[in-house]
C-alpha cells in the first residue's frame, strides 16, 4: 500500500473497504459501470457476507497502513444468511466504543447498509469518507517492535553512571 504514500504529493487517504458480495460490492460495481465518479481511495475486499467481518480485519488494516476502514453490508432484514449483518453491527457498536477509548477518531471506521441497486450511495459514502480522512490526516500508529538500540542510546550502559570526579 505504498503507491500513494508519496511524501511530496498532498495527502490522499487510504481506505480499506470490506463489502458484502450480495449488496455493497454489487453496488460498487454498478457505480463503476454507470460511470459515476467517486474518490479512488479505496481498496475493496469482497466478503461473502458482512457477518464474515472479524474486527481483527479492521484493526489489521489500520495496523498495515490504512487511514480508514469502510464496512458495507445488506440492509437490516436483507442479509442472505439471515443474521450476518446484525452480528456485524453488534460487533461494530462495541468496536467503535473501543476505538474511541483508543484515541482513533470515529470517522476512520464506518459501517453502511448499501443495497445492490444503490450505486449512488457508494459514490456518496466514498466521497464523504475520503473528505473526512483528508481533514483528519494520516494515521500514524506506533510501530510494533521497539528499536532497542535507539531506545538505549547505543551501548549497554551502567544503570546509574558513576559520580564523575
Amino acid at each position: 500500500m505504498s503507491d500513494i504514500k508519496n511524501e511530496n504529493k498532498p495527502f490522499e487517504p487510504r481506505i480499506v473497504a470490506f463489502f458484502c458480495n450480495w449488496c455493497t460490492y454489487t453496488a460498487a460495481d454498478l457505480a463503476g459501470t454507470a460511470r459515476m465518479t467517486y474518490a479512488p481511495n479505496a481498496r475493496v475486499v469482497r466478503i461473502m457476507c458482512s457477518g464474515r467481518l472479524d474486527p481483527q480485519f479492521v484493526l489489521t488494516a489500520l495496523r498495515e497502513g490504512a487511514d480508514g476502514v469502510l464496512i458495507g453490508g445488506c440492509h437490516p432484514g436483507d442479509c442472505h444468511y439471515m443474521e450476518g449483518n446484525y452480528k456485524t453491527y453488534r460487533r461494530f457498536v462495541l468496536l467503535r466504543r473501543l476505538l474511541e477509548t483508543m484515541g482513533i477518531e470515529k470517522e476512520r471506521v464506518r459501517m453502511e447498509w448499501i443495497a445492490a441497486s444503490e450505486g449512488d450511495r457508494v459514490q456518496k459514502v466514498m466521497n464523504e469518507m475520503a473528505g473526512d480522512l483528508r481533514r483528519l490526516g494520516p494515521l500514524h500508529l506506533e510501530p510494533e517492535a521497539i528499536d532497542l538500540h535507539a531506545a538505549l542510546h547505543g551501548e549497554i550502559k551502567p544503570m546509574i553512571q558513576e559520580v564523575a570526579r
Binding site: L59, P76, Y86, Y89, R90, L95, M102, E142, Q161, V163
Partner: protein, 327 residues
C-alpha cells in the same frame, strides 16, 4: 556432565510470577537437583556483574517475567538474551503486556502525574517529579528512563517460548523445565500450554446453551452467581471462548468469570479484539438502538477485553494524533 544453568529475572511485574516459581513447592527441589540456578535476584544474591561475566549462551535458559517499560529493563533483557540459549517469556506481562500494559491507555506524562501528584494519598505541593538526570555538586546523576509505551518481551528481544498466565500455573513451568531437560521442545515461538479454548473442557460446559443470547450484561457484584451454570449464559463477561486453557479453570471453579489471563489460542492474533467480537455478537437484539443500550452495560471495553494484552494487541497503545504543524 554439568547441570544446565538457568536464570530467572523480573521486569515490570507484581511478583506473582516469582510466587508461582516458589509454588512448585517440593517440586522446586527436583528443579534445583536437575539444574543450576545462576541468576534469580528475587531469591538469591546475584548481581548484574555476575551476568556480565558469563560467556554468551552460558545459561541454557532464562525465564523472564514482567513487561518492559524502562531503559533499565531494556538493557537487562538485551544482556540476558546474549547470555541465554533460550529465552522464555514467563507470565502474562512478559507474554502480552499484562496489567502494567494498561498504562498504554495513557502517556508517560499522565502516568507520572497520576503517580506523583494526583492520587489521593499523595502530597506533593512543591511539584517534585523524578528526573532522569541531575547535576549534583559531586557530578551528574542519572536514573533509567520510563518509556512512553509498555512493551511485551518479544517486542524488545527475540523470544523462544512463552508460558502464559497471571500468574502462570506452576504445573506449566514444571512441564516446561522437563521438556527442556528432555530436549523435546516444540517449534520456536510456541506457547507452552494446551492449544484449546477454555470453554472446550470447562466443567460448566454442559450448561452452556448452543446459542447464547444476552439481553443484559451483568457484573459479578450485581447478581448472586449460580455455582453450576455457565457464567456467560448468566450474562457475565466470561472470556473462556477466546482464551487458552491450561489454568485448570481456577476462576470458574471459584465461581468467577474468566478475564482472559492465558491469552489467545494460536489461531487468534489479537486476543482482546477476538473476545470483544465473540461477546458482542451474542447481544440478543436486532434493533440498532437496543443493541447500543445493551452493549453500554460493558462500561470499559478496553480494560475488560484487553486486561492482559493491550501492548500485544494490534493497536498496542492509545493513539495520539500528531500535533498540528508536526509531521
Amino acid at each position: 556432565m554439568s547441570k544446565p544453568k538457568v536464570g530467572f529475572y523480573w521486569c515490570a511485574a507484581c511478583g506473582g510470577c516469582e510466587e508461582s516459581v516458589v509454588d512448585l513447592a517440593a517440586g522446586i527441589l527436583d528443579v534445583v537437583n536437575a539444574v543450576d540456578i545462576v541468576f534469580w535476584p528475587v531469591a538469591l544474591d546475584f548481581k548484574r556483574e555476575d551476568v556480565e561475566k558469563m560467556q554468551d549462551n552460558e545459561m541454557a535458559v532464562c525465564f523472564i517475567n514482567g513487561a518492559i517499560r524502562s531503559s533499565e529493563q531494556g538493557e537487562m533483557v538485551a544482556l540476558l538474551r546474549k547470555k541465554a540459549g533460550l529465552v522464555i517469556a514467563f507470565g502474562s506481562c512478559s507474554h502480552l503486556g499484562g496489567i502494567p500494559g494498561l498504562a498504554n491507555l495513557y502517556n508517560k506524562e499522565q502516568v507520572m502525574k497520576t503517580a506523583y501528584k494526583d492520587t489521593v494519598t499523595t502530597v506533593n505541593e512543591s511539584n517534585t517529579y523524578p528526573v532522569e538526570s541531575y547535576k549534583a555538586p559531586e557530578g551528574n546523576l542519572t536514573l533509567p528512563s520510563l518509556w512512553n509505551t509498555v512493551k511485551t518481551l518479544d517486542q524488545v528481544i527475540d523470544v523462544d517460548y512463552y508460558i502464559p498466565g497471571c500468574p502462570p500455573p506452576s504445573s506449566l513451568l514444571a512441564d516446561a523445565v522437563n521438556t527442556i531437560l528432555q530436549g523435546k521442545l516444540p517449534a520456536k515461538g510456541s506457547v507452552l500450554a494446551p492449544d484449546t479454548a477454555l470453554c472446550h473442557e470447562c466443567p460448566r460446559k454442559a450448561s452452556k446453551p448452543e446459542k447464547v443470547a444476552i439481553k443484559e450484561f451483568k457484573r459479578p457484584h450485581e447478581i448472586i452467581i449460580d455455582e453450576e451454570k455457565c457464567l456467560l449464559s448468566q450474562g457475565l463477561l466470561c472470556l473462556g471462548s477466546a482464551t487458552r486453557s491450561g489454568c485448570g479453570w481456577v476462576c470458574i471453579n471459584g465461581n468467577m468469570p474468566c478475564t482472559g489471563c492465558m491469552g489467545p489460542i494460536s489461531r487468534v492474533h489479537d486476543h482482546g479484539t477476538k473476545a470483544l467480537s465473540a461477546i458482542a455478537s451474542l447481544t440478543a437484539s436486532n434493533d440498532e438502538a437496543e443493541i447500543a443500550a445493551i452493549l453500554d452495560k460493558i462500561v470499559d471495553p478496553a480494560g475488560t477485553f484487553f486486561r492482559y494484552s493491550l501492548p500485544a494487541s494490534l493497536l498496542h497503545r492509545k493513539y495520539e494524533a500528531p500535533k498540528e504543524g508536526g509531521k
